[in-house]
């Protein structure tokens, strides 16, 4: 099949154009390295079905990072038919730098078409580009576009078949000279004043103003996430379950005779003749309530805030601010982006570490994330359950995890051979997020969560019922009692939560409720559940990204550190 490859520098809007061309929704953000995976979609050109591939951003065909190496390999692998086309997407506000890749692509002698993306931004940045002249010089079609709003996409679509091999000739040594000549010929700059966004951009990266701004943004983010999450739970989801769902389930319960195996699997145990959505442990009660009414509201709230931060362009600036600190953990500042993605879900967090240069950094980043960063599903459950003991309990859990994150990072940095590479990153301009694109992205992430989480939670609840019925928890609990009871100070029944934690950590936290734990035990259990092992989805990704050998090393670190931290908490609290 004929293939169209979207190729361009990082953060020039390839993913937005990909979504426009194929109708396939992909995550697009405002920082270099959003796309680290291969995305394929299809479109029709003159009634012919054509494959479209979104290649992760590259500055040059001579790769300088792991993400670039993967991207260049994809590019080489995918160009195999003489009909294949490269659509080179260019940031119009940075013509000179972007043309460097264009000239390299021209040398591949593949039919080419050039998109001048972010065309809308040239107006207020005082840049004028003579499109016809650029088309004439390069000898391939050049089309101004704005992927986010869709401007120019129709034209791109209708002219794709005009793509052709450029006859532009140049010697490698005179590449920059040639680029200079082209830019001179087609671009006119008019003087303009600095915009508000540029001033804000500079202020948020200077240490003196940057740190207060970062703290303010962080606090505001927490506040918004909590308010939105709590409101959704309190005003929408809890009333829905209590007022509408509960009476229906109670009717079903009496139909099933209020007891028996089927009743227990579907509805679970009634507490004082009523449904307790956290404790009942039935597929239709806890199985739905945990993912939808306890976790989903926080997922919505978190991704609203994260997506706004991503699209605004703030995250790389935060990366620069925390760079010196992150070096103590053997990482550089950009790894903070993977960590923030990990707060949503460890899976994209682990994939996000591909923007880091060395294997050592990726190992440190994935390991400390998998150990010390609970995902939003687990955080939501911890807030719901530990939060009952007040803010003190919560600060103990998250404070401990934060200290573990730092200490483990420092230890790994000191013990692993090699050093951490320095940060080298392009800082994108601030952009006010385009509301429609932002909401679409949040929606995609919610759908992804519902598709992933609900089935796993249901499977989890089902397995819990089976294992209870077979007395498996009791059996393992007795064996593990010296560790669980002796070292961690938890009742042996807590072993059930640790077993189910392999599958889904949110359900695992929920399993602690019937155990009537003290605050101290609840804190220890929450911390240990976060640290001891990743959930199955994260585990699978880590094996793929780190390899089996490194994953075993990471797992050993996880088990040792979780027992150590649990034991320390048990002693000092």
């Amino acid at each position: 099949m004929k293939t169209i490859l979207l190729v361009g520098n990082p953060n020039v809007g390839k993913s937005a154009i990909f979504s426009r061309l194929t109708g396939v929704n992909v995550i697009a953000s405002n920082y270099p390295g959003t796309t680290v995976e291969y995305t394929k979609g299809y479109m029709r050109i003159n009634n012919e079905k054509v494959a479209v591939i979104d290649i992760p951003g590259i500055y040059t065909l001579e790769a300088t990072s792991e993400a670039e190496r993967i991207a260049v390999k994809m590019l080489e692998k995918e160009i195999n038919d003489e009909n294949d086309i490269i659509v080179n997407i260019i940031d119009s506000t940075n013509l000179e730098r972007n043309l460097s890749l264009t000239l390299q692509l021209i040398k591949l002698r593949v039919p080419l078409i050039v998109c001048l993306n972010f065309w809308d931004e040239t107006k207020h940045t005082g840049i004028q580009i003579d499109v016809d002249k650029l088309e004439e010089i390069l000898g391939v079609p050049v089309i101004p576009t704005c992927g986010i709003t869709g401007e120019g996409i129709k034209q791109l679509h209708s002219r794709i078949s005009e793509a052709k091999t450029s006859s532009f000739e140049f010697e490698e040594e005179e590449k920059w000279l040639k680029i200079g000549e082209i830019v001179e010929n087609v671009q006119t700059l008019t003087h303009r004043h600095h915009t508000f966004w540029e001033r804000l951009g500079d202020a948020s990266i200077k240490p003196i103003t940057g740190f207060p701004i970062a703290i303010a943004i962080l606090l505001l983010s927490f506040y918004i996430i909590r308010t939105v999450g709590e409101s959704l739970i309190g005003y929408v989801f809890e009333p829905l379950f209590e007022k509408l769902w509960s009476p229906l389930i109670l009717k079903l319960s009496s139909l099933l005779g209020s007891t028996g195996f089927v009743h227990n699997v579907l509805i679970g145990k009634l507490v004082d003749g009523e449904i307790d959505f956290v404790e009942s442990m039935g597929l239709l009660t806890t199985g739905l309530f945990v993912p939808i009414a306890m976790v989903l509201p926080y997922i919505v709230a978190f991704y609203l805030v994260l997506s706004f931060l991503e699209d605004s362009g703030y995250l790389p600036r935060l990366g620069v601010l925390v760079d010196s600190f992150m070096h103590k953990l053997g990482l550089h500042g950009l790894s903070i982006i993977s960590m923030l993605l990990g707060v949503g879900c460890n899976v994209p967090g682990a994939l996000g570490t591909r923007i880091l240069e060395s294997k050592r950094e990726r190992f440190i980043a994935s390991t400390i994330m998998a150990i010390a960063i609970p995902c939003m599903a687990q955080i939501a459950m911890i807030i719901g359950l530990v939060g009952q003991y007040g803010a003190y309990g919560l600060s103990l859990v998250f404070g401990t995890l934060f200290i573990v994150w730092i200490v483990l990072g420092i230890i790994l940095n000191l013990t692993l051979k090699g050093e951490s590479p320095e940060i080298f990153v392009e800082i994108p301009p601030y952009r006010f997020p385009y509301l429609k694109a932002l909401l679409k992205k949040v929606w995609m992430r919610i759908i992804m969560f519902v598709k992933e989480a609900v089935p796993y939670v249901l499977i989890g609840v089902f397995i819990i019922n089976i294992l209870y019925a077979l007395h498996v928890f009791e059996f393992i609990g007795n064996i593990a009692s010296p560790i669980v009871k002796g070292i961690l100070g938890l009742p042996k029944e807590a072993v059930g939560a640790l077993i189910i934690g392999f599958l889904r950590k949110d359900v695992a936290v929920g399993m602690l409720v019937p155990l009537q734990l003290t605050m101290k035990q609840m804190v220890i259990a929450s911390v240990v559940l976060t640290m001891y092992f990743p959930c199955i989805a994260t585990f699978a990704i880590l094996i793929k990204e780190l390899g089996v050998k490194k994953m075993i090393q990471a797992a050993i670190i996880m088990i040792i550190s979780s027992l150590t931290v649990g034991a320390i908490l048990n002693l000092i609290l």
């Binding site: 500055y59 040059t60 001579e62 300088t64 506000t93 940075n94 000179e96 730098r97 460097s100 940045t125 840049i127 920059w176 951009g201 500079d202 990266i205 200077k206 240490p207 790389p316 990366g319 620069v320 601010l321 760079d323 010196s324 550089h332 500042g333 320095e422 940060i423 080298f424 990153v425 392009e426 800082i427 301009p429």
Partner: protein
């Protein structure tokens, strides 16, 4: 004007890149992001404790570590030379 390290340039000052002292890896990476001998840059910020440096070339803002900045040799530009 004498050649100085980028780390010795003050925030807000303009300069022209004279040399990049590094291996092919660094040179290629720098060039890929638009930083190469002969381009004019503005130093935007520096961070204490040998933290990262931010510069602007045309419309591009780039940040990199102190160690890299030490290996970039520049010449200050006066108003006249612009």
């Amino acid at each position: 004007m004498e050649d100085i390290k980028l780390t010795d340039l003050k925030s807000g000052e303009r300069a022209i890149v004279v040399a990049i002292n590094g291996g092919m890896g660094l040179k290629r990476k720098a060039e890929a992001q638009g930083l190469r001998v002969g381009v004019k840059l503005t130093k935007l910020t520096e961070h204490f404790l040998r933290g990262p440096i931010t510069i602007r070339i045309n419309n591009i803002t780039i940040a990199f570590g102190y160690g890299i900045a030490q290996r970039i040799i520049v010449k200050r530009l006066s108003e006249k030379e612009e």
